[in-house]
């Protein structure tokens, strides 16, 4: 299996792939630096454009955007106390006070190195753990895949957001959206209401752009008052040398990266959780915890390495099981399917160049941050914050329109995207988490297909779902997640 990893190295280093890594990382840093735009939106917008590309190039862009945006999010977090992405919230705690203390340059450099180190460690974890897990999953049948899909869906529904009922309702809504169209087993039309458009089902990319990209743009439009940031905010001095940073932060980077990798593997937990856990751990271990929050560079190092270490590791369950750990992982699955590749253990044997090439791309883009995220480049990237939101809103909406239109060349898709956007806006404002909806669209049909296959094989013996040892293990994990969450709620209720 590891031979394939090294055989894929030349694929990841071919000209087209290298260009996509550079472009993706640059775009990612820019997107991350713009508050309101997020990597999910950027990747969702970019995917339709890659239909005609080689999958290696498409995935190179995804890797670049993902790693780039995690660092990009730190730029406004440090300079303006506005997290560019949700994962950069913990970076504001010490990053902004450092800017106020005249150490903005050092904070940006620390963030850049920390993001790169976190991304590199995460990519190494992906390269070593994913092939091993893929070997294990070769023993999985439809029953196991059904339970894995249910586990992924339920754990995201109960872990994301503050209310289990809302999380579950979001996930179930996603499953229903995913079921619309012709049933692949019986050929029956479901929830199509005799519409030709609906019989093909909803395209994942259109649902995703609608649910995830439109609500933040609408919110931006509401807040827009044609103001733009003062140029004085972006003046940063270059300070801190690389060797000094390594000596000062290597322990924090190691600890936070391990936290980020562990969090990334868990479904539902995102970069923001990894960053907050890493920050708290760094503060707990510090001999001077009072300095955290007042401009301690260790706080920036912990938050940034933690959130970036979540990136590649979130791909482990996604590539091996076809169960995305987060929304970007769901998009990677979407990208693979767009290019006719089926995620799961077979991917490692059928298309090793693509899957292992992607792992190398995750590693290279993390390294590219050091090159592209340097002080001069960071100063340039910070200028993107001058773009007035009154113009950012229509240009982003045009990008969405062209991205969605190019999927099938169908104008109806634009109206469907807008409808999902309004639904997403409403759900968001009513405190329903959106991630379970998207994962429901993806995992619902997968769970159903495997359930029905399992029933066909066992001749409608429902007991067969519970008898296989691996299935029992997954059920035990599922119950553990549910009981842990129920225990937390009970404890919170007692405290109140």
């Amino acid at each position: 299996m590891f031979d394939s990893l090294f055989n894929a190295l030349p694929v990841a280093l071919q000209f087209g792939s290298v260009v996509s890594l550079f472009v993706g990382t640059l775009v990612g840093i820019l997107i991350g630096a713009l508050p309101g735009l997020n990597p999910v939106m950027a990747i969702a917008l970019m995917l339709p454009l890659t239909y005609g590309f080689d999958p290696v190039i498409a995935l190179g862009l995804v890797a670049g955007i993902y790693n780039g945006s995690m660092y990009g999010g730190a730029i406004p977090a440090i300079l303006l106390k506005i997290p560019g992405t949700p994962a950069a919230i913990a970076t504001t705690f010490d990053g902004y006070p450092m800017t106020r203390n005249g150490q903005g340059g050092l904070a940006l450099k620390t963030a850049c190195w920390s993001s790169a180190i976190g991304g590199i460690i995460s990519a190494i974890a992906l390269m070593t753990l994913a092939p091993l897990l893929a070997q294990v999953t070769l023993a999985f049948g439809p029953t196991e895949y059904f339970w894995v899909a249910v586990f992924g869906l339920v754990s995201i529904a109960v872990l994301v957001g503050s209310d289990i009922s809302k999380g579950m309702l979001s996930a179930l809504l996603g499953v229903i959206i995913g079921l619309v169209g012709v049933d692949t087993i019986s050929g029956a039309e479901r929830y199509t209401f005799d519409s030709l458009y609906l019989s093909g089902g909803f395209d994942l990319i259109i649902v995703l752009i609608g649910l995830y990209a439109i609500p933040p743009v609408l919110e931006m439009a509401e807040k827009s008052n044609a103001t733009y940031y003062d140029a004085g905010s972006f003046k940063v001095d270059a300070s801190g040398n690389a060797l000094g940073l390594i000596r000062q932060h290597w322990r924090t980077w190691t600890r936070s990266s391990l936290i980020g990798v562990s969090v990334g593997i868990l479904p539902g937990a995102g970069g923001n959780l990894a960053a907050l856990l890493s920050y708290n751990e760094a503060k707990r271990k510090s001999t001077n915890p009072e300095s955290f929050g007042t401009g301690n560079p260790v706080g920036v190092a912990a938050a940034e390495s933690g959130n970036s270490a979540d990136n590649a590791s979130a791909m482990i369950p996604s590539l091996t099981l076809g169960i995305p750990g987060n929304l970007v992982a769901a998009l990677v699955l979407g990208a693979l399917m767009i290019h006719g590749l089926q995620p799961g253990p077979q991917l490692f044997t059928k298309s090793p160049d693509v899957v292992f090439g992607f792992m190398w791309q995750m590693l290279f883009t993390a390294m590219l941050l050091l090159l592209l995220g340097g002080m001069v480049a960071t100063r340039l990237f910070a200028q993107v914050l001058r773009m007035p939101t009154a113009l950012l809103v229509p240009t982003t909406l045009v990008l969405m329109a062209v991205g969605v239109y190019t999927v099938k060349g169908n104008m109806t898709d634009l109206y469907v995207m807008l409808a999902f956007g309004l639904l997403g806006y409403l759900l968001h404002r009513l405190a329903f988490p959106l991630a379970p909806v998207v994962l429901g669209v993806l995992l619902g049909p997968m769970a159903e297909q495997n359930l029905r296959l399992a029933m066909l094989i066992s001749q409608d013996n429902w007991g067969s779902l519970f008898t296989r040892p691996i299935s029992q293990g997954i059920i035990a994990l599922l119950l553990m997640v549910l009981f842990t969450q129920a225990w937390k709620i009970l404890r919170k209720g007692r405290q109140n």
Binding site: L49, G52, D163, S165, K166, M168, L169, L172, L173, V175, I176, L179, D183, I185, S186, A188, R190, Y191, V217, L218, E219, A221, E222, K223, S224, N225, A226, M387, P388, T389, A390, L391, V393, P394, T395, L397, V398, A401, V402, Y405, T406, G409, M411, L414, Y415, L418, L422, L426, R429, L430, A431, F432, G444, A447, E448, L451, R452
Partner: protein, 148 residues
């Protein structure tokens, strides 16, 4: 959030019941999962409604939720501009409609510097043209002045 939870719970309950009702007409194999999902949706909606009612009683009928839409005017204007943009695109053409859409929405959202609006719009449209027409060669709705 309590009243909103009750109302959204009722909406999901109605939706769940509809899913079950429509799903009951499917073939046996194709009906299991939709009906199961619909029933689960009804159960979780009921839980949300009950929780909302209990919280409302505890708060004495008061709700401290923020407005559902912060600036209804800007929100509606953006959505309306999008609809007009989509409607006009097939007849007017992609690049022309997009140019007008960006300028119009920027003005609606309060941007009043003509050089900034025109500069960014023209630059952005040239970038899109370069990417879609010259590099990717993707067919987009044809401009009205090019239709023969």
């Amino acid at each position: 959030m309590n009243f909103r939870d009750i109302i959204s719970g009722i909406a999901f309950l109605i939706f769940g019941c509809t899913v079950v009702w429509v799903g009951s007409g499917f073939d046996a194999g194709a009906a299991y999962v939709p009906m199961g999902v619909g029933i689960l949706m009804c159960l979780f909606s009921l839980s949300l409604i009950v929780k909302g009612v209990v919280q409302t009683q505890q708060n004495g009928g008061l709700s401290s939720a923020a407005a559902l839409i912060d600036h209804p005017g800007r929100f509606m204007a953006t959505v309306a501009c999008c609809l007009i943009y989509y409607l006009a695109m097939p007849t007017v053409g992609f690049y022309s409609t997009s140019t007008l859409f960006i300028i119009l929405l920027a003005l609606v959202l309060g941007e009043r510097r003509p050089i900034v609006v025109l500069g960014i719009t023209v630059g952005f449209i040239i970038l899109l043209y370069g990417l879609f027409a010259m590099v990717l060669k993707r067919p987009l709705p044809v401009e009205f002045f090019l239709v023969s």
